[in-house]
C-alpha cells in the first residue's frame, strides 16, 4: 500500500516536472533574446563600422525582428560556411544571413519566404580584358565559398569546360585576389560589387556587367521542424514589405530600384 502511494506520488511529481512542450518561438520569447546568425563580411548586408559595431541591412533586419518579438537582439557573427553548424549547435535561433533558398538546402533547414533578392554582377580586373559575362570563359574566376553565386559559377565553368574556378573563404579575399590579378573576374551580388569597388580598397577593378544567373532570392532560416517560428518569420517578412520598412532599409543600405520579392504566375 505504502509503495503504491509512493509510486503515484513519484508519477505526479514527474508529471509536473516534465516540461510542457515549448517550441522555439516560445523559447526565444521566454529567454528574452533573439540570437541571429549574420555574415559580417558581406557589405552592405552585414559589416562592421569604424567602432567595430555590426551594421548593415541584415543587422537592421534582425533588430526589427527582435523588436517585433519584444526581445533583445544579439548578433552572432557567422562566416558563410558556418551558418548551419551555428544553428544546429544551438548558438543561434535564426539566420538573417542572405541565405539563398535552394531546394537542396531546404532539405536540411527551414526557409522563410524571400526577404531580399540579389542580382548578380561581374566584376573584373581591368587588365584581364573582360567586358562581359561571356568573356569569363577560359579565365581564372572565383567567388566566395558557400554562396549561391559560387555554386552557379562553378557549375558554369564546368559547363564551359575551360578556365578555373577558385572559391575563397571571405568576400574580402575574393576582391583582394581580384585586385592582385590572381583572379581575372568574379561574380558577386551587384550590391556587394558596387560597395567593394566604391571603397577604393581594391584598385584596378570595375563592375563590367550583369551575370545571367537567376535572381538570387534569400530567405531567413531556422530549424526545419520549427513550423511555429517559420510561420512567424513569413508573416514578419510580409509585414516588413507592407509597412514600407523593407523599402526604407533598402534605401538606407543599398539604394536604387527596390527588388520585387514576388514571382509572377505562382502562389508563393
Amino acid at each position: 500500500m505504502k509503495s503504491t502511494f509512493a509510486i503515484s506520488l513519484l508519477a505526479a511529481a514527474a508529471a509536473f516536472a516534465a516540461p510542457s512542450h515549448a517550441d522555439k518561438l516560445d523559447d526565444i520569447i521566454a529567454s528574452g533574446t533573439l540570437r541571429c546568425a549574420v555574415v559580417l563580411d558581406f557589405p552592405p548586408m552585414g559589416m562592421r563600422d569604424e567602432s567595430n559595431t555590426p551594421v548593415g541591412f541584415d543587422v537592421d533586419y534582425c533588430n526589427d525582428l527582435a523588436a517585433a518579438l519584444g526581445v533583445k537582439a544579439e548578433i552572432v557573427e557567422t562566416p558563410f560556411p558556418e551558418r548551419i553548424p551555428a544553428l544546429m549547435s544551438g548558438r543561434v535561433d535564426v539566420g538573417v544571413a542572405s541565405t539563398s533558398d535552394t531546394l537542396e538546402r531546404a532539405k536540411t533547414v527551414g526557409m522563410s519566404i524571400p526577404y531580399f533578392a540579389f542580382e548578380m554582377a561581374v566584376t573584373a580586373n581591368d587588365k584581364s580584358g573582360i567586358a562581359s559575362f561571356q568573356d569569363m570563359k577560359g579565365k581564372t574566376v572565383g567567388a566566395t565559398a558557400g554562396t549561391f553565386e559560387a555554386i552557379a559559377l562553378e557549375k558554369q565553368v564546368k559547363e564551359w569546360g575551360e578556365g578555373t574556378f577558385r572559391p575563397y573563404q571571405t568576400q574580402a579575399d575574393v576582391f583582394l585576389a581580384l585586385s592582385q590579378g590572381q583572379l581575372d573576374a568574379t561574380v558577386s551580388t551587384s550590391t556587394v560589387a558596387q560597395s567593394n569597388v566604391k571603397t577604393g580598397n581594391f584598385p584596378g577593378i570595375s563592375v563590367v556587367g550583369k551575370a545571367p544567373f537567376d535572381i538570387d532570392y534569400v530567405a531567413l532560416f531556422t530549424n526545419r521542424e520549427e513550423y511555429g517560428l517559420i510561420n512567424y518569420l513569413n508573416l514578419f517578412v510580409n509585414q516588413q514589405v507592407r509597412t514600407g520598412r523593407y523599402a526604407e532599409l533598402y534605401e538606407k543600405w543599398v539604394g536604387g530600384d527596390l527588388p520585387s520579392l514576388t514571382v509572377d504566375g505562382v502562389h508563393r
Binding site: F80, A145, A150, P167, Q169, D173, G181
Partner: protein, 221 residues
C-alpha cells in the same frame, strides 16, 4: 539542444568525390615532405658549413617556420607573393606553404638527430681519408635520417592535416576543400565533416602504422 536528423546516405553518395579529394591531399602532403626533407638537408648543411651567411639563412628559416602559424605561411605564399605580382595557383601556394613549414621543423629534427651522433665518428671517418663532405654523406647523413625517421612521420601526419588550410587560398580540390564545397551545396555539415574526419583519421593511421613497419624492417640492428 542539438536536434538534427543525420542523413548518412546523402553524405555517402558524395564519398567518391571526397576520396578524389583525399588523393589530392596525399599528393600535396607527399610532395611537400619530399621537397621539405631535401630542403632540410640543405639547411642542415648550411648550419654545419660554418659560413656565417648560410647559417643565418638556415636559422632565419627555422625561426620563421616554427614560430609563425602555418596558416600565416600559406596565406603569405598566396596573397603575400601575390601583392608583388607573383601569382601562384592554390595548389602551388599550399604546397609552398607546407613545404616551408616542413623544412623548418625537419631542420630542427635533424639538429636533434645530429646531437645523438658522436663527433668521434666524423673524426674516425676523416682519419680514414674521407673528406668533410664524404664523411657527412656516408657516415653522418644516413644515421641522421635513421634517428629522425619517426619524427619525420610525425611531420608527414602534420603535413596531411595542414592541407586543410588550403581553403583559405582558394583550394577546392583537396579533401577539406571538396568537403566544404559539398557543404555549401547541401548544408549537410555534420555528416560531411564527420566523413572527412574519418578519412583523415584512416589516412594518418595508415601512414603512422606503415612508417612503423618500415622502421622495424629497415632499422634492425
Amino acid at each position: 539542444m542539438f536536434n538534427y536528423t543525420f542523413q548518412w546516405k546523402q553524405a555517402m553518395a558524395r564519398l567518391p568525390q571526397m576520396l578524389d579529394g583525399a588523393i589530392v591531399t596525399m599528393q600535396v602532403a607527399i610532395l611537400s615532405m619530399v621537397i621539405g626533407i631535401l630542403l632540410a638537408i640543405v639547411l642542415t648543411m648550411f648550419r654545419l658549413s660554418g659560413i656565417r651567411i648560410l647559417s643565418a639563412v638556415a636559422k632565419a628559416w627555422v625561426e620563421i617556420a616554427r614560430n609563425t602559424p602555418a596558416l600565416f605561411q600559406i596565406y603569405m605564399a598566396h596573397f603575400g607573393l601575390g601583392s608583388f605580382g607573383l601569382h601562384l595557383s592554390p595548389f602551388l601556394s599550399i604546397l609552398i606553404g607546407i613545404t616551408f613549414n616542413n623544412a623548418g621543423y625537419l631542420t630542427e629534427n635533424f639538429r636533434g638527430a645530429l646531437k645523438a651522433i658522436p663527433d668521434t665518428q666524423t673524426r674516425a671517418a676523416r682519419s680514414l681519408g674521407m673528406g668533410a663532405a664524404g664523411a657527412f654523406r656516408h657516415v653522418v647523413l644516413p644515421q641522421m635520417l635513421r634517428i629522425s625517421f619517426l619524427p619525420m612521420t610525425n611531420q608527414m601526419v602534420w603535413a596531411i592535416l595542414m592541407t586543410s588550410l588550403g581553403v583559405t587560398v582558394g583550394m577546392n580540390t583537396d579533401l577539406y576543400g571538396v568537403t566544404q564545397d559539398l557543404n555549401a551545396l547541401t548544408f549537410r555539415t555534420f555528416e560531411l565533416f564527420a566523413l572527412a574526419a574519418v578519412i583523415f583519421y584512416v589516412i594518418t593511421k595508415i601512414v603512422t602504422l606503415g612508417a612503423r613497419l618500415i622502421a622495424a624492417r629497415l632499422f634492425r640492428y
